[in-house]
């Protein structure tokens, strides 16, 4: 993807160029998802909401007053997303009270709950497929140690009697296959699953 400098995007959006707004969304959305994924604790619904809200705020700002330094548009969008995530966290804290958890379960909003499950489901299903494919038990254990137990590479290499090169190669292979599985199944675009026809 060709990167369009923030200054140029800002100018075009201010001049009413709708295609520039689409470019801004294409350009910033992946980064916003990374940033907000770290701050939303796996809540996919919240992640989506905050990404959209951030983009909307940035576009409205560029349509109106603009930003102080258009060259720093990416940093402005990132900071907007961080502020929204903090505000959302504060709101959740304010709303947190002692709840009757059984009653909450009984009255849970099924739509929201399903959406949240589905967000984990995509990656979980791909991981399961990946684990089924890995021929060496050592490779599965390596993934567990690295991603789940957060052990250092050095420690894992010692434990599993692996050279660092072999470790990196196996990890890279697993990553590539995980990505492939998601893409093959259409998970990458979050267009998972099946549809009643």
């Amino acid at each position: 993807m060709d990167f369009v400098p923030g200054g140029e995007l800002s100018r075009r959006i201010r001049e009413g160029d709708v295609s520039a707004e689409s470019e801004l969304i294409r350009q910033f959305e992946p980064g916003l998802r990374v940033l907000l994924r770290r701050r939303t604790g796996g809540d996919h619904g919240l992640l989506q909401d905050l990404v959209q809200e951030t983009l909307l705020i940035v576009i409205q700002r560029l349509r109106g007053d603009g930003i102080e330094d258009p060259q720093k548009l990416a940093a402005f969008a990132a900071q907007t997303a961080r502020n929204l995530a903090i505000a959302s966290l504060r709101k959740a804290e304010r709303q947190r009270t002692d709840v009757d958890s059984e009653a909450t379960d009984r009255n849970a909003d099924p739509t929201q709950s399903v959406d949240r499950i589905a967000s984990d489901l995509e990656a979980a299903l791909a991981v399961r497929a990946l684990l089924r494919e890995l021929p060496q038990p050592r490779d599965r254990l390596m993934l567990k140690r690295f991603y789940l137990d957060d052990h250092d590479k050095e420690l894992i290499c010692q434990e599993l009697d692996l050279s660092e090169a072999a470790f990196n190669q196996a990890l890279s292979r697993a990553r590539r296959r995980f990505r492939q599985i998601l893409e093959e199944r259409g998970f990458a675009k979050r267009d998972l699953l099946s549809l009643g026809l």
Partner: protein, 209 residues
């Protein structure tokens, strides 16, 4: 930016200042950001799979273990056959999933499942005894296993019923019966695998409200 930095960011090992600089870079570099997101999702997927058990990570491919597992499976299959198919047994549990037979009525409730790109909603399982048609490309000369998994938010993925030796009803469909009232509300997946082949299983999700 290199892979090590991505790993440190995803593992939460960067200082806040470094993490913010990293995020700013992601916003300016969408292709790099996608790479980071895959790493985040791989970690999240592993955490999710391991919520209930880490057995999937430590299962062994050792032939002895495989033989023991196979022996245990056969024994379990016999126990299950006795348990489910003994009509006189007062303890017989209701069947959640069953094969479609020639005598299964065709005019009952049905649900069609297919892998469709562009859909982000899972179809809902109707109430009652539902004839579920799984749409895909099937080899009429092969048998398939169908596993029904319950996907719990904070728990492991539980396989609650499995049917083996199923024949496709056509080159594009395989059918099973599911008793909806036996299922709790939640998200489920039907995992279809061609038996005696190394082909990857296909997952078809649905929701029971």
């Amino acid at each position: 930016m290199n892979q090590e930095l991505i790993e440190q960011y995803v593992a939460g090992r960067l200082s806040e200042d470094h993490a913010q600089a990293f995020e700013d870079y992601c916003l300016a570099n969408p292709d790099f950001a996608r790479q980071v997101e895959y790493e985040q999702r791989l970690k999240a997927g592993i955490v999710e799979v391991a919520r209930g058990t880490t057995a999937e990570f430590v299962r062994s491919n050792h032939p002895l273990h495989l033989r023991l597992a196979a022996a245990a499976s056969v024994l379990l299959a016999f126990v299950a056959m006795f348990y489910f198919w003994n009509p006189g047994s007062p303890a017989a549990a209701p069947t959640i999933m069953a094969a479609v037979t020639d005598t299964t009525p065709r005019d009952g409730i049905s649900l069609r499942l297919a892998l469709v790109r562009g859909s982000d909603t899972a179809p809902a399982l109707p109430a009652g005894m539902v004839r579920v048609e799984i749409v895909g490309l099937f080899d009429l000369g092969n048998q398939y296993s169908v596993a029904l998994d319950r996907l719990e938010q904070n728990k492991k993925i539980d396989t609650i019923a499995t049917l083996n030796d199923q024949h496709p009803s056509s080159p594009v469909s395989l059918e099973v019966m599911i008793d909806s009232k036996q299922l709790r509300s939640g998200l489920y997946s039907l995992r279809v695998r061609k038996q005696a082949s190394g082909e990857e299983a296909l997952d078809f999700g649905f929701v029971k409200f």
